[in-house]
């Protein structure tokens, strides 16, 4: 499913990366622990997190993550937005918490082992 589809499903708002929303997402990595994200074997994944520091975007960039969704009304810091623009990481945000967001995405074919 594309990031655009995910946005619709999770009622998410766009922060930056309008032109990148047709990317095909194959998996989700949902965590507030960047160390966890850095250890994942997943490919073509979207990172879902409640952290809003620039390190989230750095982690996404280095892992080749296709996008980041912020949960619980979090909005990325401005510096993170600048980084995301350069590294072409689309950022979106939703009001739901991590658990609710994952529930909404369950059964969408994003379970990758």
């Amino acid at each position: 499913m594309t990031i655009r589809d995910i946005m619709e499903k999770c009622d998410a708002e766009l922060v930056t990366g309008e032109e990148l929303l047709d990317r095909e997402i194959k998996a989700v990595c949902a965590s507030d622990l960047l160390s966890d994200v850095l250890a994942t074997e997943k490919q073509d994944f979207m990172l879902i997190t409640g952290l809003c520091t620039p390190q989230v975007v750095r982690t996404a960039e280095l892992m080749g993550s296709l996008g980041v969704m912020y949960v619980r009304h979090k909005y990325p810091l401005q510096e993170a937005i600048g980084m995301a623009k350069v590294h072409e990481v689309p950022l979106i945000c939703t009001k739901d918490d991590l658990f609710e967001t994952c529930c909404k995405l369950a059964g969408c074919g994003l379970e990758q082992f």
């Binding site: 622990l33 401005q78 937005i81």
Partner: protein
């Protein structure tokens, strides 16, 4: 459970807002005010004043004499003058003399406070000697804040773009291109610069994305460890045509039990590091998993040196 979550959210929101108040405290009225103020002279007629207001689409105009603020004419004053047929009276005759002003060196947060208190959306700005130097509105403050926010975005963009242009230090006896990075204690802001720079160079060499990801992760975890556990250090990445070698050496305080440090889940990370999403004790094991050869040398009270290499071939 849901209580804990909403509490957490509220706390963070409060922190975010206090950053804005801090910014508004640091910003002074002179940083946000409009400098070219339309003024009228005391001897101007209200008809002339009305023309100034209409032409410039403003609802109030300060009356100045030799640059000093002596009064203000508002739209209300004009309406009243129209009512009573007093449009040929002078500004001096009909102006409000007790003008609410704000000092040029006052913080923006104080200025906003004063606007709230007096109920005016705009305040004339005066300097120490009562000279009129500008005018400030809510909108000026908002505009400046938006500008500052956008400026942070632009600066971050410029920094990230410059990573791709990094040139290697002049090579000595080695054949590889050598990139050196200073990594400072607690410097989260620059965490990942080394990893990101090397990634960009490897992309230019068309190394496979999977290999690049392993190198980037190993370097990033190493950088983070220097930032959160050490007094600071240096990372060197040598890029050869077929492999990368990374050497990280910090200034201590070293690791007492290296074997323990290498086990999954062992961590001495601070609360701050954990708040930032690090410190799960997965770094060193992850680095080992990502690289082809790995060496760590450390002892209590000494520097920690980590050396690892990754080959490009599949």
């Amino acid at each position: 459970m849901s209580d804990a979550i909403s509490l957490g959210t509220a706390k963070t929101k409060q922190q975010d807002i206090s950053i804005i108040s801090e910014l508004m405290y640091q910003l002074k009225v002179r940083d946000v005010m409009t400098k070219n103020v339309h003024t009228v002279a005391p001897e101007n007629t209200l008809r002339e004043v009305q023309a100034v207001m209409r032409d410039n689409k403003i609802s109030g105009v300060p009356v100045a004499s030799d640059g000093k603020l002596v009064g203000i004419i508002s739209l209300d004053d004009i309406i009243r003058a129209l009512d009573f047929g007093e449009m040929d009276s002078t500004a001096e005759d009909k102006m409000t003399r007790e003008v609410q002003t704000v000092g040029v060196g006052v913080s923006v947060i104080k200025a906003i406070d004063e606007m709230e208190q007096c109920g005016f959306g705009r305040l004339p700005v005066i300097d120490r000697d009562h000279y009129l130097v500008g005018i400030v509105t809510h909108w000026d403050v908002v505009k400046k804040l938006i500008f500052l926010l956008q400026d942070v975005v632009l600066k971050a963009e410029a920094r990230e773009r410059s990573l791709a242009d990094a040139t290697p230090a002049p090579a000595n006896e080695v054949e590889g291109a050598t990139y050196e990075f200073d990594v400072c204690k607690d410097d989260f802001e620059n965490a990942g610069i080394a990893a990101s720079t090397v990634k960009k160079q490897l992309q230019k060499m068309e190394v496979s994305p999977a290999v690049i990801r392993r190198i980037a992760v190993a370097m990033y975890e190493t950088e983070i460890n220097i930032i959160i556990h050490s007094l600071g250090g240096k990372m060197t990445a040598e890029i050869f045509p077929d492999r990368v070698r990374v050497i990280s050496k910090d200034e201590g305080p070293g690791i007492a039990n290296v074997e323990k440090a290498l086990t999954e889940g062992f961590s001495t990370a601070s609360a701050k590091a954990r708040e930032m999403g690090f410190g799960a004790g997965m770094g060193l094991p992850n680095i080992k998993r990502c690289v082809d050869d790995f060496k760590i040398e450390s002892a209590a009270g000494e520097s920690t040196t980590i050396t690892f290499g990754v080959k490009f071939n599949i």
